[in-house]
Amino acid sequence: MQGAAVHALRGVSLEVGSGEYVAIAGPSGSGKSTLLQLIGGIDVPTAGEVEILGTRLDSLSDRELTRLRLTRLGFVFQRFHLLPVLTARENVELPMAEAGVPARERRVRALELLAYVGLEDRAGHRATQLSGGEMQRVAIARALANRPVLLLADEPTGELDAATGAEILSLFRRLNHDGTTLVVITHDEQLASEAGRVIHMLDGRIQDGGESPETAAPLPRRPAVPL
């Protein structure tokens, strides 16, 4: 038996400028996670194209796409997805090790990033020994490890209580302020309202907010760590 094809997204056109903080909001099943996965090159559109820094993702081989995700993009997931057997520092070092960063250099940077997200004293703790908020902050530090041009976050506060979620929001604000381009998927209106631009989606279509702003984002201040 063959089922009918389901289109998660239809006619979506979205442009995100450097330094922007974009929130994609919408109810469950509206296609926002699919959109994020397409932007991040972990899913492939049946039609249309995705371009990051002038490179069409459909022109890349699987290996090149993997390399692009490693070096140009950063991912934060709802369920953190840290490796439980590794420490916070080792989790942050993982993408740098894959990118071939020398051991000493990646150790220093991992500690800097953990300090940036306020976890310098938790560097030696395994992921399982951290709270939800701490795990998400380690996941953010991991996402920043290879100095990505774009940070993609899928429901980053979905597993957190309100207070901890607020800490993550504050961290995102700071990241954007320090120059990181952010695309955040959420159905949390408070989180969405923090963004410079909010895109609302419904039934696989962009309802509003899809237009690129005419004015460029303000120049970032010098970040606390070289992001």
Binding site: T34, Q37, T66, R69, F77, P84, V85, E90
Partner: protein
């Protein structure tokens, strides 16, 4: 964090499962090692046993193997003289095997008797006391079991009785001899009650007179390399005798044990299959449990090759630890099994079924490591092919 450290931590995370898998691999590895030792060990042990005293050639009555029947050779003294005149031969001696009795109090105990030529003997090693001299017709050598049975030690006198056969109503021949030494008979089974005298004394005990008969002749060639050529020459020179080099005897032995070897190959293969199934099953379960984690790693840019490598390293770590334990377990099991098998009657106590050799250990270790590592290929492929987007979606729901 190295790939190895990451793999070890991953295995420790599932402690009980890892311990059970390692135990299973260790048992399979032990079985593999034992079977490898068994398949090659028997013939090596047999060859070593034959060469224990350096005699490379045996001459026996036509159509028989050494001590395979009670057949004897006649006119052995002239044959021995001819052999000793051969410049390629370092020494040659005759051995007569027979049964006789030892008197202890009013009763008799059954003994195995060897008539030997002490100047050229390849069947015993002196443990206590002294060896016989070629003309010592009053001396006897005892094995430790006989010393116990007769309650005799070096310097004591023992009485031996031969030809005591009521079926043929033969007259008994008796000799009172002095114990010169306690010896270990190289080809005796465990507990065998053996004694030895110079050849003429044993011939008299066996047949009533020194009839110049022997069960076998032993020949030591000066150069090991020419032993087969000398054996071939002796075969032509003594057509009414069977002439065997050690190589010939090992070949006969191998033919008799062909089923034993086949069994060991089958069991070794089965143990390898069990190892592969264990590792593949464990790693496949682990990969399936960690699909979310693997999809995340792929999403953040970890290459397929890195994911595959990690799974293969885990398989290799399991194999290495299991194999190391398996070698210890296999050696212990081999020793225990050897003690059981060599206690069977008729088998020389010095014989060994399981011979631990460096090449056996290396063969078992290499075969196990290669198959164990390959066993991780399927789960590694599964991990590398995990669909990122679909897995992350299912993880989120």
């Amino acid at each position: 964090m190295s790939g190895l450290g990451w793999a070890v931590k991953g295995l420790i995370r599932q402690r009980l499962r890892t311990v059970l898998a390692v135990a299973g691999i260790a048992i399979s590895a032990a079985m593999l090692l034992d079977m490898v030792m068994l398949s090659g060990g028997i013939e090596k042990s047999f060859a070593e046993l034959l060469l224990a005293k350096g005699y490379q050639i045996r001459l026996t009555p036509k159509g028989t193997l050494p001590f395979d029947t009670e057949a004897t050779l006649d006119g052995v003294s002239s044959v021995v003289k001819r052999l000793r005149r051969d410049t390629a031969i370092a020494s040659a001696g005759a051995v007569l095997g027979t049964s006789l009795y030892g008197r202890t109090g009013d009763s008799l105990v059954t003994l195995i008797g060897y008539g030997i030529q002490p100047e050229a003997q390849g069947v015993y090693q002196v443990q206590r006391g002294s060896d016989l001299t070629p003309d010592d017709t009053l001396g006897v050598l005892l094995s430790t079991p006989v010393a116990g049975l007769l309650g005799a030690g070096v310097g004591d006198t023992v009485r031996l009785v031969g030809r005591l056969d009521p079926q043929v109503a033969a007259a008994a021949v008796s000799r009172q001899l002095v114990v010169r030494g306690i010896v270990r008979w190289v080809y005796d089974y465990r507990g065998q009650p053996s004694i030895g005298t110079v050849l003429p004394v044993m011939q008299t005990l066996a047949s009533g007179s020194p009839d110049d008969r022997a069960s076998l002749l032993l020949v030591k060639v000066r150069d090991d390399a020419v032993a087969p050529a000398v054996a071939a020459r002796l075969r032509e020179e003594f057509p009414r005798l069977e002439v065997y080099s050690v190589v010939d005897l090992v070949r006969f032995f191998k033919q008799r044990l062909v089923y034993f070897r086949q069994l060991s190959y089958i069991l070794a293969t089965m143990s390898l299959i069990v190892t592969v199934l264990l590792i593949t099953t464990l790693l496949t379960i682990t990969v399936n449990e960690r699909l979310g984690e693997i999809a995340t790693l792929r999403a953040i840019g970890i290459a397929r090759s890195t994911v595959m490598r990690q799974v293969l390293i885990e398989g290799t770590v399991l194999t290495v630890v299991g194999a190391a334990l398996g070698i210890v377990l296999g050696l212990g099991t081999a020793r225990y099994l050897d003690s059981i098998l060599t206690s069977f009657p008729g088998l020389p106590a010095a014989f060994s079924f399981f011979v631990p050799r460096r090449e056996n250990l290396a063969t078992a270790a290499v075969v196990l490591l290669v198959t164990g590592s390959l066993a991780g290929l399927y789960p590694a492929w599964l991990a590398a092919r995990a669909p990122i987007a679909a897995t992350l979606r299912s993880e989120a729901t």
